[in-house]
């Protein structure tokens, strides 16, 4: 599972980096891929954020340096992520996400989560408030991948919770 997830993460990361390097103004964004894995019968979630943004967040929360490759420090960041990202069921309650792990390098931070034994349809709403109150221009894109069909949701400071039904289908790439 990790291999496939990693490939996607790598791509997302490459994208973030290329855009940042090309660009000029450092925009703040995160990408969250949510996909159903038929083999494990689970919904898999992969988040990718800029390492610089996460470092700055942690520094300004705890006034100290964090090493996101250190398990103790990861635990602190995990608590932050779990508080601010949730998949919600039809009853509006949080679905139980399992923390699979995270990786960090000088460019990006990638987080792996899993909703065990659940098809994508079980997720009716999403709350996503990672980095948005720290960086007011932070934009988090959630891609819902259902059997190759991708629909997207955009989360910002003022739009932290949305029903998945609002997701918009993206154009097909060539």
């Amino acid at each position: 599972m990790m291999v496939r997830l990693n490939l996607k993460a790598l791509l997302a990361c490459a994208l973030l980096c290329v855009s940042a390097a090309a660009g000029a103004h450092r925009f703040h964004m995160g990408i969250t891929e949510v996909a159903y894995n038929a083999r494990t019968k689970s919904t898999e979630i992969v988040h990718t954020y800029m390492a610089h943004d996460v470092e700055a967040l942690m520094l300004n929360m705890y006034q100290r340096q964090f090493d996101l490759t250190d398990p103790d420090d990861q635990l602190v960041f995990r608590k932050y992520v779990e508080e601010r990202f949730a998949l919600k069921g039809a009853d509006g309650k949080r679905l139980p996400l399992r923390w699979v792990g995270m990786t960090a390098d000088s460019q990006s931070v990638t987080i792996y989560q899993e909703l065990e034994n659940a098809p994508l349809s079980k997720t009716v709403g999403i709350r996503h408030a990672i980095l948005t109150d720290f960086l007011p221009d932070q934009v988090n894109t959630v891609n819902l991948n259902e059997a190759g069909k991708i629909r997207s949701l955009t989360f910002t400071l003022n739009a932290a919770e949305q029903p998945t039904a609002r997701a918009i289908q993206q154009q097909r790439a060539q």
Binding site: F27, E55, Q63, Q65, G148
Partner: protein
């Protein structure tokens, strides 16, 4: 092909945020806020001698007393010559900094140095510091930043407390010499913010024949909202402690067998200190600018009884004197940083910072002759109002990927208002000083940066000296001293990470002072000394062998000379020459962590002609920590592991023992504590 579908979405998104301008926030954010977030400091500091020690670095140090945390600043020595509640004595860059002259220290934006203090100019008592709350120590050496004011010529140490802790902490430490300490701290969420609380209780007798009986209570309560770059905090602190002092003792007394090594001379020496503060700070940061505001009210009270010369001045009652000091310090400071210029391609950009600092001290202090803490005569008694204001402008420019400059200017204005018990020593004085600074950082290679620094700094003199016309003891006429004394520094530095896993810095500096002025707190007057010049070289090295092992070696050498043609000689008593530190730190080796640190405090001249010198002091401290469970650990700390019988401090002056016919010039020393162990149990939840 599903993975490819990410591309257009992200690309479209990215394009939304392209402004085609320079990476604006990068420069400001990193310089103003994220400084220290990277382990590798290339491109992050303005001199080779500045840096940051983070919470982990500080946690790994073995500190006998809280002031020793400052030794994370390479080349600095924090010592003690008296009872534990007294301010430490510091040494750095060829200075005997006494209790903090020329070393500016701040905690959470509040100045720690007390100006025009009864016992010593710049009095820096760090006993209110709770190490568990310290999130970082930022240090600079040399007067190269316009943001720094009074006392910052040798260096500046800024300690910051955390707004929230990763987990609540409760710890108990028990040690030899009746040492006990407990800390309870946490930061629960409250009303959308965090409420940080901490309580520390400590007692320590030390190895002294007459136990120090040091008892302290220390508390912090802080409410914070938001983040440290976009948010605010309100903090209350309170510290109080009392102690007996075993001051330095004469070498002849120990050699003759009259005194034991850990004996005290005057059993009633000691003191009591209280510090309370309320402070607040507010910060706002956007991609384009950063604003900070900071305000504080600090109340300090000290009662201090010392006897350094025994029966020299008063063969009947002895020479004990009292130096009470009561003061309220209020201050406001603020700064605003914005982008002054950025080129279209983003290669060239310039930030401008404007700031101000206002401070007022309302002080009642005095000097009294006492016997067993009972007043028998008044030498002087003063009410001092000292007010200062400063404005500064600093421009940081990145000319290219490899060249940065910081240019600044600062204007200081001081008002000294002294109402003394003698009209001759009362009055008002004013002084103004403008200081320029310049730093150039050039990185010829990606892994190496060279620095050139030039700047002026200053220290203020004791207000009582600025209006003095009469020596209160001898009644001889004296000249008033200037209020502000200028220093001029320059430095050549190198920082490199060319060798993998290793960071090396080298700096070569010169520092001139217009006059080496020292307030003789123990005599109650100010001495205007000669100009001075210092040269020095500093080397600091850290080698991160692997994930859990780091080695470091720091060494510094300074040559300090007085330049006024004093016929006695040109040495500056107590001026430190060689200092070295070697350390080994293990962190996260399974459940084990630990550190071993060797500290060398080199010999110093004790008088002007260099005929009497102190010996070197070498101490080996260490700690071993073991994690019993995820949220529980124990730690054993050992101090002076080799059990050396060195001095913590040495002085040379005249004193008289009760059985001596007249005064004798001699070395007076305070020994380092013998081998001492402390065991700590820490629980998080």
């Amino acid at each position: 092909m599903k993975t490819f579908r990410v591309t257009p979405i992200a690309a479209a998104l990215a394009s939304l945020f392209f402004h085609g301008a320079a990476s604006a926030d990068e420069f400001v954010l990193q310089r103003v806020l994220v400084e220290g977030a990277r382990i590798n400091k290339i491109g992050m500091t303005d001199s080779a001698s500045s840096g940051t020690a983070n919470a982990k670095d500080l946690e790994n140090r073995t500190v006998y007393r809280p002031g020793e945390l400052l030794e994370a600043m390479p080349g600095l020595i924090a010592s003690q010559h008296s009872g534990e509640g007294k301010a430490n004595q510091f040494y750095l860059r060829g200075f005997n900094l006494d209790h903090g002259t020329d070393l500016s220290t701040s905690v959470d934006g509040m100045p720690v140095n007390q100006r025009s203090h009864a016992h010593g100019q710049g009095w820096t008592d760090l006993n209110f510091l709770i190490p568990e709350l310290v999130s970082r120590l930022d240090y600079r050496k040399g007067p190269y930043s316009s943001t720094d004011g009074d006392f910052a010529s040798a260096g500046k140490a800024s300690l910051a407390y955390a707004n929230r802790l990763v987990a609540p902490i409760a710890s108990v430490t028990l040690g030899q010499d009746d040492y006990a300490r407990t800390v309870l701290a946490g930061s629960p969420e409250l009303a959308g913010g965090n409420l940080l609380y901490a309580l520390e209780l400590l007692k320590n007798d030390g190895p002294w024949t007459r136990p120090d009986g040091y008892r302290k209570v220390n508390a912090v309560l802080r409410y914070s909202h938001g983040y440290s770059n976009n948010g605010w905090t309100v903090t209350g602190m309170h510290y109080q402690g009392h102690w007996n002092s075993t001051d330095q003792i004469p070498l002849r007394g120990v050699e003759s067998g009259q005194l034991g090594r850990y004996d005290a001379f005057d059993l009633s020496d000691g003191g009591e200190a209280k510090r309370s503060s309320i402070s607040g700070n507010w910060r706002r940061t956007t991609d384009e600018s950063a604003t900070a505001l900071n305000a504080y009210v600090i109340r300090n009270q000290l009662d201090l009884y010392s006897n350094f010369t025994y029966f020299l001045n008063d063969p009947v009652n002895g020479d004990q004197f009292a130096q009470p000091d009561r003061r309220v310090t209020t201050g406001v400071d603020g700064s605003h940083t914005w982008h002054a210029y950025k080129s279209a391609d983003g290669k060239l950009m310039s930030d401008l910072t404007a700031g101000f600092q206002l401070q007022n001290d309302n002080i009642f202090n005095g000097l009294y002759d006492t016997r067993a803490r009972q007043r028998i005569a008044t030498t002087r008694e003063d009410h001092i109002v000292e007010t200062s204001g400063a404005v500064y402008l600093e421009s940081a420019t990145m000319w290219s990927d490899s060249l940065r400059t910081v240019v600044g200017a600062r204007a200081n204005r001081y008002r000294f208002d002294v109402a003394g018990d003698r009209l001759e020593n009362s009055g008002r004085a004013y002084d103004t000083l403008v200081t320029p600074t310049l730093s150039i950082a050039w990185a010829p290679f990606k892994h190496t940066e060279l620095y050139l620094n030039y700047g002026h700094g200053f220290h203020s003199n004791d207000a009582r000296g600025t209006v003095a016309t009469l020596d209160p003891k001898s009644l001889d006429p004296v000249d008033a001293t200037p209020g502000l004394v200028r220093s001029r520094g320059m430095e050549l530095g190198l920082r490199t990470v060319a060798i993998p896993k290793m960071e090396t810095t080298v700096s070569l500096y010169r520092l001139d002072f217009a006059s080496e002025l020292t307030y003789i707190g123990d005599a109650g007057n100010t001495e205007a000394g000669d100009p001075s010049r210092r040269y020095g070289v500093e080397l600091s090295n850290i080698y991160r062998v692997n994930k859990w092992l780091a080695l470091n070696v720091d060494a510094a050498y300074a040559r300090a000379r007085s330049r006024g043609g004093n016929p006695d000689g040109d040495r500056i008593p107590g001026a430190v020459e060689g200092v070295a530190q070697a350390g080994l730190t293990v962190d996260g080796f399974g459940p084990w962590s630990g550190a071993l640190r060797l500290r060398y405090f080199g010999p110093r001249p004790l008088i002007e002609d260099d005929s009497v010198r102190s010996h070197a002091s070498t101490t080996l401290n260490g700690r071993i920590g073991y994690r019993i469970a995820k949220d529980m650990r124990i730690e054993l700390e050992g101090f002076n592991l080799t059990n050396r019988r060195d001095s913590a401090i040495d002085y040379y002056y005249e004193s008289r023992l009760a059985n001596e016919a007249q005064g004798v010039e001699d070395i007076h020393f305070h020994p380092i504590e013998p081998r001492t162990f402390r065991l700590t149990f820490v629980k998080n939840w």
